[in-house]
């Protein structure tokens, strides 16, 4: 077992996918680690924004929620939800935004459920709901999705489609009237999955060191193409140091 845990690897794998100069929409938890780490690893000119209205925050401590006062620190401007979502819906700015999301369920085309398990009218499990996820997934040109890799979470059909991925395939978003694109990648605790440029179906891009492609499939209700799969490069010393010493020294998100 190498000297890092799955969360650390997930945060680093996501951080590597953030391009310099991008506007990074951040949710809570591990997505904040990825956004903060990216600024030090590969995207020094990336900018962090929150749906609550904080634009270009200079985070010093990990916020526990996007409403945490910590997101306000050193921002270029702090306003409110209306401005933040308008920035993402506006095509001039929205085109540069990469959104980092999570969900309870995901399907082959990257559609997300964060609302209920079971029947919507009488759910067996109720989750928090969309929050800003459906908005971000509708507006921006690139999204990265964090998932726990379990069979009940990678499902053939989501119980409730909260946030649009590629909907029913290549033409799904255009038919629905959505701008932007569906997910670029899914980062789980076992692997990194991409979406095929032609079919918009999920495929295995890289499996974590010590994980087999078959183990990835065994934990999904649907199957994905394995032909492009390779082992993910393990985190470097530098990446781990940034994550542990600069981003989350209190290990509030990374855990014990």
């Amino acid at each position: 077992m190498p000297g890092y845990n799955a969360r650390e690897l997930m945060a680093i794998a996501a951080a590597r996918k953030i391009n310099d100069g991008e506007i990074v929409f951040c949710g809570t938890g591990i997505s904040m680690l990825a956004a903060m780490a990216a600024k030090h690893i590969c995207a020094p000119n990336s900018i962090i924004i929150f749906e609550t209205g904080a634009i270009d925050s200079q985070l010093e401590e990990i916020p526990m929620a996007v409403g945490d006062s910590r997101v306000m620190l050193g921002a270029s401007s702090n306003s409110g939800l209306a401005d933040s979502f308008a920035l993402m819906q506006n095509r001039t700015t929205g085109r540069h935004v990469v959104g980092i999301l999570g969900a309870a369920q995901i399907d082959l085309f990257g559609n997300l459920n964060s609302t209920v398990v079971g029947d919507y009218d009488r759910p067996s499990v109720r989750f928090a709901g969309s929050g800003g996820a459906a908005d971000v997934a509708s507006f921006v040109d690139r999204t990265l999705i964090f998932m726990q890799h379990e069979r009940r979470k990678f499902v053939s059909n989501v119980d409730y489609l909260t946030s649009p991925g590629w909907l029913d395939g290549p033409d799904g978003r255009r038919k629905a009237g959505l701008p932007g694109n569906g997910p670029a990648a899914v980062i789980s605790n076992l692997a990194v999955m991409g979406f095929d440029d032609a079919t918009r179906e999920m495929f295995l891009e890289a499996y974590f060191p010590g994980v087999t492609p078959q183990a990835v499939l065994d934990n999904m209700e649907f199957t994905v193409d394995l032909s492009r799969a390779r082992e993910l490069e393990p985190p470097t010393e530098r990446e781990l140091r940034i994550l542990r010493e600069i981003v989350d020294p209190q290990r509030l998100i990374l855990g014990g």
Binding site: V66, D68, M72, G80, P123, F127, G132, P164, Q250
Partner: protein, 324 residues
């Protein structure tokens, strides 16, 4: 709204006057920040019932109103309190037990619905959630909507762009305006005339207040109106919009108030524990809300040192290095 220049009253009076049973209400703040908790606790203390609650991600206040049984219906985007409760626990129980009716929207849709109410238009357009179950599935039945004049007949309406492909848009979804009977906010500073100033993120507080027929604001500091009027561009709410100004220091506790205090992680963790068990939650309601007769008595029960620990650092606006 109220054009008079004296709005100060106590919390009991304000809630009794502007929050009748069955009222349509909205509360300010976001997840664990600047919820009008003192007002929420007073609503619970006065045992209001049948409330119709409009929320985007109003967090802790929503869960306590639902948990105390004040709420019949909620239109909401997100019921969570960050890491302290990824899904608000009493909200989750109420939905799974079918004791409250829920209609789901997104945060931007709810924000636009308040903005539409503030602007005095019946709807606003967006491209959010096209192709999703937020548009396809209704939590409130068509029968309920048609029988209740306080609800629009449609949850949402999808429409082709009447300006052709203008602005690279073929289709939009129209979200219906919200007009709460009353919106309750907690802010840093307000004047006796109702002039209100929020520091830091405003979330959707301003839209929620302007959409409402009545507005109750609790504040950390009851400021001199002249001082606030010396820099009018820093005031988000003109006095005429407010019906009641109530001076309630720590009125957002246990949620945060930027530049004044942080959220209380110890309280929020204890709350989570209490919320997971009905008996414990009943004791929580009795000890923390019903036994104390008002905010002052309630806060006398906060364990020694808690408020000192969450005191905001003047530079950052939160409690640096707070044990979370």
């Amino acid at each position: 709204m109220d054009t008079s220049s004296e709005k100060v009253m106590d919390l009991k009076t304000a809630v009794a006057r502007f929050v009748p049973d069955g009222a349509h209400i909205s509360i300010g703040g976001f997840t664990c920040n600047r919820n009008p908790m003192a007002a929420v606790y007073e609503i619970i203390r006065q045992r209001k019932t049948g409330l119709h609650l409009y929320a985007h991600s109003n967090g802790q206040g929503v869960d306590e109103l639902v948990g105390a049984g004040c709420v019949a219906r909620v239109e909401i985007a997100y019921a969570g309190t960050g890491r302290f409760a990824p899904t608000c626990i009493r909200f989750r129980k109420a939905v799974e037990n079918g004791t409250i009716a829920v209609e789901d929207y997104s945060n931007y849709q709810m924000t636009l619905r308040f903005l539409a109410g503030a602007m005095g238009v019946p709807f606003l357009p967006t491209r959010s959630a096209l192709g999703t179950d937020i548009i396809r599935r209704w939590g409130f039945s068509e029968a309920l909507r048609r029988s209740n004049p306080r609800l629009p007949n449609e949850k949402l309406v999808v429409m082709d762009n009447p300006f052709g492909g203008w602005a690279e848009t073929d289709r939009v979804v129209l979200v219906p305006a919200i007009r709460p009977d009353v919106t309750l906010l907690h802010v840093q500073k307000a004047g006796r005339d109702g002039t209100a100033r929020i520091e830091g993120l405003t979330f959707a507080d301003v839209e929620q207040a302007k959409a409402a027929r009545h507005v109750i604001v609790t504040c950390e500091d009851l400021a001199d109106a002249g001082e606030l009027r010396a820099h009018p561009h820093l005031n988000q709410l003109p006095g005429i919009l407010l019906d009641a100004v109530v001076h309630v220091p720590h009125g957002a506790y246990p949620t945060a108030c930027y530049r004044y205090y942080d959220y209380d992680p110890a309280f929020l963790n204890d709350y989570r524990t209490a919320a997971t068990d009905d008996e414990r939650y009943t004791r929580y309601l009795r000890d923390w809300i019903f036994e104390p007769s008002d905010h002052r008595e309630q806060h006398a029960r906060i364990p020694e040192g808690r408020l000192a620990a969450i005191q905001a650092d003047p530079h950052t606006g939160y409690a640096k290095g707070l044990k979370r």
